[in-house]
């Protein structure tokens, strides 16, 4: 454990969080893979064979395999070195969901890069390659969101054993980029303890399509299907029919409505309330200590509010 801590600290100093990183000498580590160690075992056997049979041809080929081993270190290194990585986007979502992280790999297109594996701690590795002449490619990884807050996907492992599988070339990079994890939706506003959220006190009306409100003289540009043909036929002049919706008074979802709860429970209830209000289809807004949103509705509005909830006095969290 102490060693792991030490290693973490050392890595943190060597490869701190950056927006983008171009892999190079500082960031790349090299060690024989398991297959490489097995290869060295084969090499040792061949060497014994050469010694015991005093066979110089076998000796030479054992030396050649050794040289191949050395050369593949360089090949493996250059397969990874020069790749620039950055996080394009991280999805937002609720706890328990797998959020997509898009990582962009770009290079100068001078060489072919193959069999690069990317993974965050605990995620399924994704194999990517960069063809000669291409500029970049995007790999998508999925990380599991646990708690409300800012989700950082953690250290990304970039790993490759190309071309012969003998040498593992890898890097652990910490890329800047996060996704918002919303609170777990709670019971919602209808069971709020405080007042204020009761509906139906004064109803204002807005023009709509639901209830018939009366006839008004025709104005140029009104739709033909609104024209009250009955009145036209009676010779009473041209009128159009007008309707109203029962409006929906703007609803404020307020931190202060849940006085007896702790922070996370309040946020959870507010989250449920946002989803309910969104379903109800009226304007709503959110008031949190020190910040409040505008009134509004629709998907963008909902997302904005959910993000407010997600990031309110939040802690960063890392996946894995």
């Amino acid at each position: 454990m102490a060693f792991e801590k030490f290693f973490e600290d050392w890595l943190e100093r060597r490869l701190p969080r950056v927006e983008r990183i171009r892999l190079g000498r500082r960031s790349i580590f090299t060690f024989p893979s398991r297959a490489g160690l097995f290869f060295l075992l084969v090499l040792a056997l061949l060497w014994l064979l050469a010694i015991n049979y005093e066979n110089n041809v076998v000796f030479f080929f054992a030396a050649l395999l050794g040289a191949v081993f050395v050369v593949t270190i360089l090949h493996g290194y250059s397969n990874v070195a020069g790749v620039t990585l950055r996080i394009l986007a991280v999805d937002s979502g609720f706890p328990g969901e797998s959020l997509r992280v898009d990582i962009e790999l770009s290079h100068d297109g001078k060489r072919h890069r193959d069999d690069i594996k990317l993974y965050f701690p605990g995620t399924t590795p994704q194999q990517v390659s960069l063809a000669k002449g291409t500029d970049s490619t995007v790999a998508s990884l999925y990380v599991r969101a646990k708690r409300r807050g800012r989700l950082r996907p953690g250290r990304l492992t970039v790993e490759s054993v190309y071309p012969l599988g003998l040498i593992r070339i890898w890097s652990h990079v910490r890329l800047d980029g996060w996704g918002a994890v919303y609170p777990r939706p709670g019971a919602g506003a209808s069971h709020a303890d405080g007042g204020g959220a009761e509906s139906g006190a004064v109803q204002s009306e807005v023009a709509g399509t639901e209830d018939f409100a009366g006839l008004e003289p025709y104005r140029q540009g009104e739709a033909w299907n609104r024209i009250a043909w009955k009145q036209v036929a009676r010779g009473q002049g041209v009128y159009t029919k007008h309707f109203v919706d029962p409006a929906a008074e703007p609803q404020w979802l307020d931190w202060a409505h849940f006085p007896d709860l702790d922070r996370e429970s309040r946020l959870s209830r507010l989250c449920g309330a946002v989803l309910e209000a969104d379903m109800a289809g009226r304007d709503y807004g959110l008031k949190l200590p020190g910040e409040s949103s505008a009134l509004g509705q629709g998907e963008a509005h909902r997302t904005r509010l959910l993000r407010m909830l997600a990031l309110f006095e939040c802690e960063d969290q890392e996946a894995g």
Binding site: F60, G66, A67, D115, S129, G133
Partner: protein, 658 residues
Amino acid sequence: MAAPWQISRAGALWLVVAFAVCIAPLAAYLPLWVPGVAALAALWRLGIHSGRWGAPGWGLKAALALVCVAGLVLSFRRLQGLEPMVSLLVCAFSLKLLEMRQRRDALVVIFLGYFVAIVLALFDQGMLVALYILAAMVVVSASLVGLHQSAAQHSYRRPLRTALYIFLPALPLAIVFFLVMPRLGPLWGVPAPGVAVTGMSDSLRLGQVASLSGSSAIAFRAEFEGEVPPREQRYWRGVTLSHFDGESWERAAWWSAQRGIRWTGDERRDDPDTATALDYRVILEKTGGTWLYSLAYPQALTANTGVAQDFTLVSRSPVTRRTEYQVRSFPDRHVDRDGLGALQRRVETQLPENSNPRTRRLAAAWAAETPEPRALIERLLRHYHRGFSYTLTPPSLGQHAVDDFLFSSRAGFCEHFAASFVFFMRAAGVPARIVGGYQGGELDEAGNYLVVRQYDAHAWAEVWLEGEGWARVDPTAAVAPERILSNLLSMMSADVVFANSPLDLARFQGVPLINQLRLRMERLEYQWARWVLGYDTEQSNVLARLLGGLDPLRIATFVLLASALCLAPVLFAMYPGRRRGKHVGDQLYAEFCARLARAGCERARGEGPRDFAARASRNFPADAAAINSIRDAYLALRYGPGSGDVAHLRRLVKGFRV
């Protein structure tokens, strides 16, 4: 996208190719069923690859494993020796190929492949074989690259190209390792390959040497420090055959005993009574026996060689691979001049009781008429000269072979003459023995060395004479002196000599081009044998000459510098550079712009490729088509979907002239 643990298609195909390449040459050394099992496995793999067949069920796999075990037991009975071990290795290789499903299995197959490819060198260390192994290793590596190729970048050709890029710098690096790696003696005894003895053996039945004559394979090479002795002096002694049981001549049990051998470094060295000495080095091909070839009479100079009591050169262990040794011979020396011991005299005059009665009677009669051994030899040689003929296809002989030869067939080759001569001399009471070895050898004009081939195999006699010791008598020379003065080929027609090897290159000695090619190949093989196979003995010399000393610091510096030199081109080609490099497409486009700028049409700052191309086309209407196609290729590469075609753009730009 394929999961990373699966075997990619290119990997699987290259694996089958590598498998075939590794096993094919071993077929010559293993029982026929072994390559049979391998071929079945390879074909099945191809079937799986093309999607025609499924993976074999456990029943089939068990049946194949059973075939392998049964085959091994029936062919070898016990699992000692190199052939059984290699057969086992090949069986494991085949079965593993058949049952592999994951990348991990494929890795095991590939590492076995490296091993199997290299094991071939235990059977044959020739230069061409080494080149073949090198090619096989490149193919095995290609399959390893193919295995790690992602499905998105699938290509059948790229793995081979990548493998070549790996081996190119690895070769000089391997030579550096090879030069400096310390050579240790064998750590433990190992089973040697069972050599099917080509060349002469240590027994003689009439009719055996004839089968050697048909081969132009090299028996050994000899490099002289001074003048090469003339052809008629070049009798390369291998074994002496003193024991005759009525059918075949064998070495006397007495000689093969180790205790009479004077090994190098032995204090019982006898100093020769003559000054003329020949110094030479012999590179002997494997024989499977312990005898070595030398001119009369040798002094052993190389460790683990010695001189037996019959003054033949011997090796402590059987010669199962190409071996090099140094000898000094004293051609004018007399051996056993002071007389033979009682036991030795009995051995050298021994004859079975009732064999060849007519020869015995004739010998007794002649001995009575000519008691002086020298005169008797003369008389017998004259007898051969008058009524006998030399042929490589003699009629078959009956139970009393010497009788049949001397009195009825009267035609044969060296061993008939040697065996009948020795029998006759012994019957007349003169100690005599057959010597088996080679006579002559082809002198290479460029190198100062002799090539002795299997068709130079020869048998002659040695007779012990009072006051002189052992003297060489070659009865074949009495019948066919041209056999001694030129080689067998120039004496007989090639059709007779190579009756059973129609494609032997030596057959075409009359065709200058082929002959030249053959001689050049052999010279290369010689250098190979001398410098690569015999490097153990040369290592300290070579290194000392190369580095001017052998201290560890010097060697370490050499290794580091030489390795850096070998790897520098790779580093140069691959190092990504300090700053973010310009995209290769942009580089090419810049080159294109520079060409136009030189022609007077400079791209303005911020001018887009489309606008620039339009302007350039207006300036150079004749090149409009080329300019537009470069524009399109560049835009497709940089801004188009998918992976662009760099090579296409490069071709266009490089070919662009205003």
